[in-house]
Symmetry: D2
Subunit: 141 residues, 4 copies
């Protein structure tokens, strides 16, 4: 049984392209994060909800593998999966594909940690976030 995933779409803007006529590789990380933001919104929380409890969610690892380029005006499908859910961190997987051709363009992941804003130390993920991510998790560790 495959785990649930979240999907969102992103239209490529002119400003995201570079002189090779394709989306600059760094922008895929922004697409990943944008999909993550939409995912959290769909789950009913956001990066900033836990600020009052002195928490934030820095990224500790980011990886992307590029298969095919995306161009201006392309519609992209971004799929988010919860690869590993831990007490203090989550590894989200991402695939970016061309909505029309269905070609896989890029895939990668982000490792996000719950951290205390003061000390910078990893800390327990808020229970609400953990519980909402759980049904999507391929592994709970």
């Amino acid at each position: 049984m495959s785990a649930r995933s979240f999907k969102t779409s992103i239209r490529v803007t002119w400003a995201e392209t570079d002189a090779a006529g394709v989306v600059h590789f760094s922008n895929y990380f922004r697409f990943f994060e944008r999909a993550e933001e939409e995912f959290y919104r769909a789950l009913g929380f956001s990066f900033t909800d836990f600020r009052s409890r002195g928490l934030w969610f820095p990224r500790v690892e980011a990886f992307c593998q590029y298969k095919k380029p995306a161009g201006f005006n392309d519609m992209l499908d971004v799929e988010v999966t919860v690869e590993e859910l831990r007490e203090k961190s989550v590894r989200l997987g991402f695939t970016v594909s061309n909505k029309e051709t269905k070609d896989l363009l890029a895939s990668g992941y982000l490792v996000i940690v719950a951290a205390d804003r003061q000390t910078g130390r990893a800390t327990q993920m808020p229970a609400e976030a953990f519980e909402k991510l759980k049904p999507y998790a391929k592994q709970v560790l």
Copy 2:
């Protein structure tokens, strides 16, 4: 007698270009601000120095006129002038030219206001900043 100005150089990176093979127009505003940051550093202060007094420096107007494109790897000269210095705001002028050809590429301005972080209201510019900008001001109003 012409007023003093500040100059800095910026190398165009690949990420700043777009699919037309030239620097994306929005990036000139980042070049302006980067030159402003260097200017303040040369004067001995920074955006964040007045944070403890509850001040920040939002931009209230931004304008740029584009003459010729800049490409990847071009070295740009950015010149900053203090067009108008007021009690609560400053209008900085900027010209961007190609260091090698001397061609004028773009010119424009930013209007920056000293604002109270809580209320968002315009407030007196810090005396240190005002005094340091004064020798560069074409007009003190």
Copy 3:
């Protein structure tokens, strides 16, 4: 009788904010252009349609006035108006407002020129684009 306008919505992402906790001023120009891109798409053409005829559409002027800040996750309404339509250029007006509070956040314009890719010279706008923009134009000059 007021001219027609085009409206689109933009969700503020984390990457678009700066250390003041608000959208960086340069990103409003990207919002303007993104709304322009959606506008053209709604009209049935795009920046790249006229490439084969050796045309592109550089921006020759960009202006923005900032009223109130936008924050992470805010939904923005961007309205595009055709302020002036000329043989070789168009001035598009933009207003950005908060979808929820209806507060006006920023307004400005872009002047876009039809240019020959080889010479860089302003040239006649493609008839299709001109005709599609016309019903929106406050002034045809």
Copy 4:
């Protein structure tokens, strides 16, 4: 005997920060590429030199691990190493540290492929580039 490396410095601008008050994680990839550009310039070539031969240099993998945040105005040292040099690709390693505190902030890599612009296929790296990278290579494969 340790391999040679290349070093360059980058000043953090306001536009590169996000609402957490630190450099947005995606910008480290731009720092990597900027250092790569400076490295090639120091070696005497650039991305665009091989365009006339129909070559470009897409990134096929990008990775970064984040240790400590960087803030506005921080001076960063970026060190570039040539982890693996192959006939058709190169893996560049990067470390970003705070120039003042010497703290390691982030490290990662980019895998860059020589590709035919028409077919998109990996192809032989230009001999000039290969020879200039060789003295820096930890492994030639």
